[in-house]
């Protein structure tokens, strides 16, 4: 087994899926010769040629709209949007067509499309390069939303997304692209879409996150354990749509407390949905209010103020302690 980071794990998954299925193709800005601005598609054009790894003109609506047509015509396109903040021009195609073609045609035409995009802050980037729009996509019926939290997850979830019969938005936490290296099996494997993962078992409080903030939860849990304050159960949601409420609710029924962490703005973030599911299904087991640790309802700040915006282990520790004291 090789030790890979998320960039390398996704690159490997793409390469293997392309090897297995000649209908899998890649398209996007700078995905070919340049290997993508984060190098996620590094080496693929050399291996599979320009017919299957396509550098497109600079047009996000064009990339996704054309990929929808390719998918209808039997291909399995994996489109890259260079940064999630540039997916807005493609949003119309995603909402108006990718997500509905199956429903509109009563299953006659389908869109097995993957849109990969780096998202999230913490990378000291320019405006529009730090957005967390997972809730914006998860709110659209007919789109699946998948977010890996480490290299092993990234490889298995991406393979599953490529093989999935429906459109999947695959959001890659840019902040931890290269931050985590771990053993990743060489052979192909898939992880289920729609199944959350218990990352760490605990009895006092359920902490829920996805993407880069699963790591934030681990840090917080370790500190609380070392201080003898709390035994935290961590859940990585993995797929916001479909959302596996059963795993979350079962955990909350056990612990009686829940803290949800995301860096997207707090209002109408996906934490609100999780909180509502807990209220609907486990209110009698709750021993304290569900708490969200989230980004502010603001534009993500540029580099100088960025750290204030990001949820960090300190704020998670505080939130967990407050649920325990309630």
């Amino acid at each position: 087994m090789a030790r890979l980071n998320i960039v390398e794990a996704i690159d490997q998954a793409l390469s293997q899926e392309m090897q297995l299925d000649s209908k899998v193709i890649i398209l996007g800005e700078d995905v070919g010769r340049d290997g993508g601005v984060f190098r996620v598609t590094d080496g693929l054009v050399q291996r599979f040629g320009e017919e299957r790894v396509i550098d497109t003109p600079l047009a996000e609506s064009g990339i996704v709209g054309m990929a929808i047509g390719m998918a209808i015509a039997g291909y399995r396109p994996v489109a890259e949007i260079q940064f999630a903040g540039f997916a807005y021009p493609a949003y119309d195609q995603l909402v108006s067509h990718a997500s509905r073609m199956r429903n509109r045609s009563r299953g006659e035409f389908t869109v097995p499309l993957v849109v990969r995009t780096p998202y999230g802050g913490g990378i000291r980037a320019l405006e529009h390069h730090s957005e967390s729009m997972e809730a914006v996509f998860a709110h659209v019926p007919g789109l699946k939303v998948v977010i890996p939290a480490d290299p092993y997850e990234a490889k298995g979830l991406l393979a599953a997304a490529v093989r999935d019969p429906d459109p999947v938005i695959f959001m890659e936490p840019a902040r931890i692209y290269r931050a985590i290296k771990m053993e990743v099996p060489e052979e192909t494997y898939t992880l289920p879409l729609g199944k959350a993962r218990v990352v760490r078992e605990g009895k006092d409080v359920t902490a829920v996150a996805w993407g880069a903030h699963v790591r934030t939860l681990r840090d917080a849990a370790q500190r609380l354990e070392a201080e003898g304050e709390a035994d935290v159960e961590i859940i990585d949601v993995r797929t916001l749509s479909p959302f596996d409420f059963e795993t979350v609710v079962a955990s909350v029924k056990k612990t009686g407390r829940a803290v949800i962490v995301h860096e997207a703005p707090r209002s109408c973030g996906f934490g609100a949905e999780i909180s509502a599911q807990i209220m609907e299904r486990a209110v009698l087991q709750l021993r304290s209010p569900v708490i969200r640790v989230a980004g502010f309802d603001t534009v993500p700040p540029l580099a100088k103020l960025e750290d204030y915006y990001q949820p960090d282990a300190d704020s998670v520790v505080e939130a967990i302690k407050s649920t325990l004291k309630f």
Binding site: D34, P301, L305
Partner: protein, 359 residues
């Protein structure tokens, strides 16, 4: 029932100043010697500033930014044709044009250093902040131009963007609306032949950007983007047509991105040094310098003096930049709306309380 040509068009290319520094007098725009010197000074200042920004970026004092070295002839030439009551609606690779509009260098450092206050371009400069989402801002120029026409202002809007931006849908919509509504706007495309790694030939099958104007019923022209006199001339004419006749124009300034796309890019991954080298020889500042020397407007002493004054301005700006007190965290919330929502008020208080607890 014959088949006959219905319409035919042609696209002109304008060159005034040869690479050797010789002008075609019949095409030379009316520029007084001191104006030519000023043009040169602004181009040199832009180059020196760009160079210093790069060094600051490499030292970790600035974030990612897009260098403009080699493209001064294009965007400085165009901005030189603007009057104070015209508007500039830029993308992100027009440092020289922003300087010409009167934006303090220190503010540019502040912005690219990750401090939002740097993007607070004073309203009276009639210059919008940098637009990072490629190809989206030209529509704003059309709207501003529409409003100016309503107000009966004898002024125009110049909006600048790269050739990559012409592939976005919003570009077509902006061109169409400008022509349909006959608004005083000039679309200024710096065709540097690359959009990150994607070369011009993969961006569009159109032999020129300029001809894209024709389909919208707009005037289009290509100009040598490394020839500052040609760019100035074409921009002047287009702005005048816009101000007086409400005729929009698309200008393609054909140049080349001799630098990496941004400080995060490595152009060696996708193009060869042999391709870049000839373009270094076509440097717009050296070309103008050659002309000025033959006309007695510049000599070694004068050139050294221009350089020294530019470096001094840059050094002063860097010193002022280093003295800036970082923004306070409360700033994050202050400009989302005219009035803060209850959520923002609460979240701001929460953050300030959390920071106080940790102190």
């Amino acid at each position: 029932m014959p088949i006959r040509p219905l319409v035919s068009y042609s696209i002109e290319r304008v060159e005034v100043l040869s690479p050797e520094g010789v002008v075609d007098d019949s095409l030379m725009p009316g520029l007084a010697p001191e104006q030519i010197s000023r043009l040169y000074e602004y181009m040199v200042l832009t180059r020196q500033f760009d160079d210093r920004m790069f060094k600051l970026q490499r030292q970790g004092r600035l974030g990612t930014f897009a260098r403009v070295a080699g493209q001064e002839g294009a965007h400085v030439g165009a901005a030189f044709a603007l009057r104070p009551d015209d508007w500039l609606v830029p993308a992100f690779r027009e440092t020289g044009a922003l300087i010409l509009r009167g934006l303090p260098l220190v503010q540019l450092l502040q912005y690219w250093g990750g401090d939002e206050r740097g993007a607070a371009f004073p309203q009276e400069l009639r210059t919008l902040p940098v637009a990072i989402p490629v190809g989206t801002h030209m529509l704003h120029a059309v709207g501003i131009a529409w409003a100016m026409k309503q107000a009966g202002e004898q002024a125009a809007v110049l909006t600048s963007f790269g050739e990559g931006a012409t592939s976005e849908g919003d570009f077509s919509e902006a061109m169409n609306m400008a022509a349909v509504f006959k608004v005083p706007v000039v679309f200024f495309c710096q065709n540097n032949q690359y959009a990150i790694s994607v070369p011009y030939t993969k961006q569009t099958a159109s032999p020129t950007v300029a001809q894209k104007a024709l389909a919208y019923g707009m005037f289009g022209v290509q100009v040598d983007g490394n020839d500052v006199f040609a760019v100035y001339r074409v921009a002047m004419e287009a702005l005048e047509r816009a101000r007086t006749g409400h005729e929009p124009t698309l200008i393609e300034a054909l140049t080349y991105r001799v630098m990496d796309h941004t400080t995060s890019d490595d152009a060696q991954r996708y193009r060869s040094e042999e391709e870049v080298e000839p373009w270094r020889q076509r440097d717009p500042i050296e070309r103008l310098g050659r002309y000025m020397r033959t006309k007695g407007l510049l000599d070694d002493v004068g050139a050294a003096d221009v350089l020294a004054r530019a470096d001094q301005k840059v050094a002063d700006a860097v010193a002022a930049f280093e003295a800036i007190v970082p923004p306070g965290p409360e700033e994050i919330f202050n400009h989302v709306f005219a009035e803060m929502t209850p959520q923002l008020v609460e979240q701001q208080a929460e953050l300030m309380a959390r920071l106080a607890r940790r102190r």
